[in-house]
């Protein structure tokens, strides 16, 4: 609390007054983006400020933004607008750190119908609207066409089932004379960002959305079984040795660009990094990530979105909503998504957006996002605990140091307990909290 107070004092000092010399209300906007993504939002902020005679948005890039927002909110001086991730919503809303936006959104003419269904779902939690999207993402299989060709595979044909992905994996993987791996077709831990969502491909997410972890169900058993097959086939330590030589994601040494990993699950932003860091002429394809059984028609994907929230206790909620609502207008949202090289979260996409977007597979991603089988990423009150445990257990299984079933059972028990503890906390305050939120949104 003292730390929060000190931070609050610092923020208070740094923030200065809440009106500028022209009498405009100054909004403090914290955002997590850096690089070209930051430049893109900075241009939108400038455009908003130019259009305004009442509000001025001051943007600040903040690292570990989720923690710092928590401390600032605990200290009683939160910023006005914060760019978080949808996965933050359960813990922030249950801890009363956010302002429900239902009433303000309605006043500004924002409704569910404007957005892709999966994105709207991600912005809501426990029946309230907590955020609006900034830029969303869905994931898909990316494959290196040259690696396919070198392995004697058709570079234009991606795997259509998980079994086929593994068949291609075996063909593409190359070993050095000393038995170490020179290249691998696919490894689930590269990148490890989607480990939490893989069970969805085996049947369903790991949480039922209520009070039960579904880690004892069939999908999770199959997922851990799939992981366990990797050290048997490719030797666990050898995979980690190969991985140890991978360079940074945002660098020419990214293992997908260097050909060390031929098939990866990635999001729409990957094309921007390919254009910037991969060698000229790097050829790749994008397709829905394969499922155990081919599913013609609607493809499966998992969606996530960066979001804009108004912290509880923010000084200028209406003005903050004005800025957020301005960004939700199609022309502004598309400008942001174009510059950040992402898909649009909106249901209606202009022909101009599609024509001007540089991503060669944009339509694949837009179709995935609009698919009825586009599911929201895991947004659970125990998100960080879950991620941490998942990293520990999946790494042990992939190293061959723990059996998949033992890891699953141990993790399942731990995570159910962690969820129960969070739900107990929530249940104690739920009636009061819900009544407060209802009052706030006028329902």
């Amino acid at each position: 609390m003292l730390l929060a107070g000190l931070l609050a004092a610092l923020v208070g000092c740094a923030g200065g007054g809440d009106r500028d010399e022209k009498g405009k209300v100054v909004l403090e906007y914290w955002e997590k983006w850096t690089g070209h993504e930051k430049e893109a939002i900075a241009r939108r902020v400038e455009a908003f400020n130019r259009s305004q005679d009442k509000i001025h948005v001051r943007m600040l890039t903040v690292s570990r933004i989720d923690q710092k927002m928590m401390l600032a909110t605990a200290g009683g001086v939160p910023p006005d607008v914060v760019g978080l991730w949808a996965v933050n919503l359960p813990s922030y809303s249950e801890n009363n750190a956010l302002l429900p936006l239902d009433r303000l959104a309605a006043e500004f003419g924002i409704s569910e119908g404007n957005y892709l269904p999966v994105i709207w779902k991600l912005c809501n939690y426990r029946g309230f609207l907590w955020s609006l999207p900034s830029t969303p993402s869905v994931v898909a299989l990316h494959w290196n066409k040259d690696a396919f060709r070198e392995a004697g595979l058709d570079p234009e044909r991606p795997p259509r089932t998980l079994a086929e992905l593994e068949e291609f994996n075996e063909k593409i993987t190359r070993k050095n004379p000393d038995g170490s791996l020179e290249r691998i077709g696919h490894m689930p831990q590269e990148p490890a960002w989607w480990m939490r969502d893989f069970p969805t491909w085996f049947g369903h997410p790991v949480w039922d959305g209520g009070n039960r972890m579904r880690m004892d169900d069939d999908a999770c058993r199959k997922f851990f079984g799939w992981l366990e097959s990797y050290p048997r086939r490719f030797d666990g330590p050898a995979m980690y040795k190969l991985r140890g030589a991978f360079g940074n994601f945002a660098s020419p040494e990214n293992p997908f660009f260097t050909g060390k990993v031929a098939m990866i699950m990635q999001g729409v932003w990957m094309d921007g990094f390919i254009k910037k860091f991969a060698r000229p002429g790097f050829r790749y394809g994008v397709a829905p990530f394969p499922e155990p059984v081919e599913h013609p028609g609607a493809p499966l994907t998992v969606a996530e979105t960066d979001i804009l929230v108004i912290p509880a206790g923010a000084k200028h909620p209406r003005e903050s909503m004005e800025f957020i609502a301005w960004l939700q207008r199609r022309e502004n949202m598309e400008a942001l998504c174009l510059e950040q090289k992402k898909i649009s979260p909106l249901r209606e996409v202009s022909a101009d957006f599609l024509a001007r977007h540089e991503h060669p597979y944009l339509r694949t991603f837009q179709e995935l996002a609009a698919s009825p089988r586009a599911l929201p990423a895991l947004t659970i009150p125990t998100f960080r605990e879950f991620e941490n445990d998942l990293s520990v257990y999946t790494n042990l299984v992939l190293l061959g140091r723990m059996e998949g079933e033992a890891a699953r059972m141990e993790m399942s028990a731990r995570q159910q307990k962690a969820l129960d503890a969070k739900l107990n906390r929530w249940n104690r305050v739920a009636p009061v909290r819900t009544a407060e939120w209802r009052k706030e949104v006028g329902s």
Partner: protein, 305 residues
Amino acid sequence: MNRAERRNFARAMLFVAPWVVGFLFLNLYPFLASVWYSLCDYSALSVPVFLGFQNYADLFRDPVFWKALSNTVLFALFAIPLGTALSIGLAVLLNQPVPGQGLFRTIFFLPSLVPAISLAILWQWMLNGPVGLVNMAVRPFLQAINAVAGTSLQAPDWLNDPNWALWGLVLTGLWGTGHAVVIYLAGLQEIPVELYEAAELDGTTPWQRFVHVTLPMLSPVIFFNVLMGIIGALQTFAVPYILTGGADGPGRSLLFLATYIYQHAFDYWNMGYASALALILFLVIVVLSFLAVKLGEKKVHYGGR
């Protein structure tokens, strides 16, 4: 107390006020608050709800807590003696009257000036399995052993192998021995030369002089460094946190109590549980420091006594 004494007392209070205020608000209040929060379910944003000793009961049933505690104690058990032996050895060598003595002292001290974050990032690469400098140095020896003994020893994948990660961290700890070396050097220079002369006249060997003169005379300095080392090692946070990217390391082998406290407080929003963990860490430090002091009473030789 007459008027002059009262005035002097008021002045004295004024001068110590910054320390007293700092102590009250930055030490005592957080300490007492964390004692209270450790008895509550508290997320930092919600009102604390009294739970009694539930957090402590949960903690003793939490296998991850025991893992973090055992990692922390194991690290201290190996890092402190190793660091102490190395820094005393270096200090003795750097105390020899050789040309360039000052330069050598500076060279050995310099690494301890590197901030913990930079140190961790540096060691992330040094300990990299396939391309790290440590393994580049180790591999020729292993190859030689393999050639002679017909074994198939391989350089460890330090930061990915649960069996090696903690040892990798112990290795990184040795990087900062320069700080202790400077203190030992000061201690060595305080040892009266007559003691060595008398020992030489008695026909002692250099090793005997080291064991029977240097070590006893240096014991107060060793005691100070070991005590500080215990407190520092038990609070290890920054380097393993950076090495693992804020996670637990392979098989939780780099999870330390301080990291676990941080995770619960700021990642999981379990400030109450984190406070209970912090108090347990405090008790561990108090107990080990007390034992060190008790041991010191018997083994530390103060010149003035």
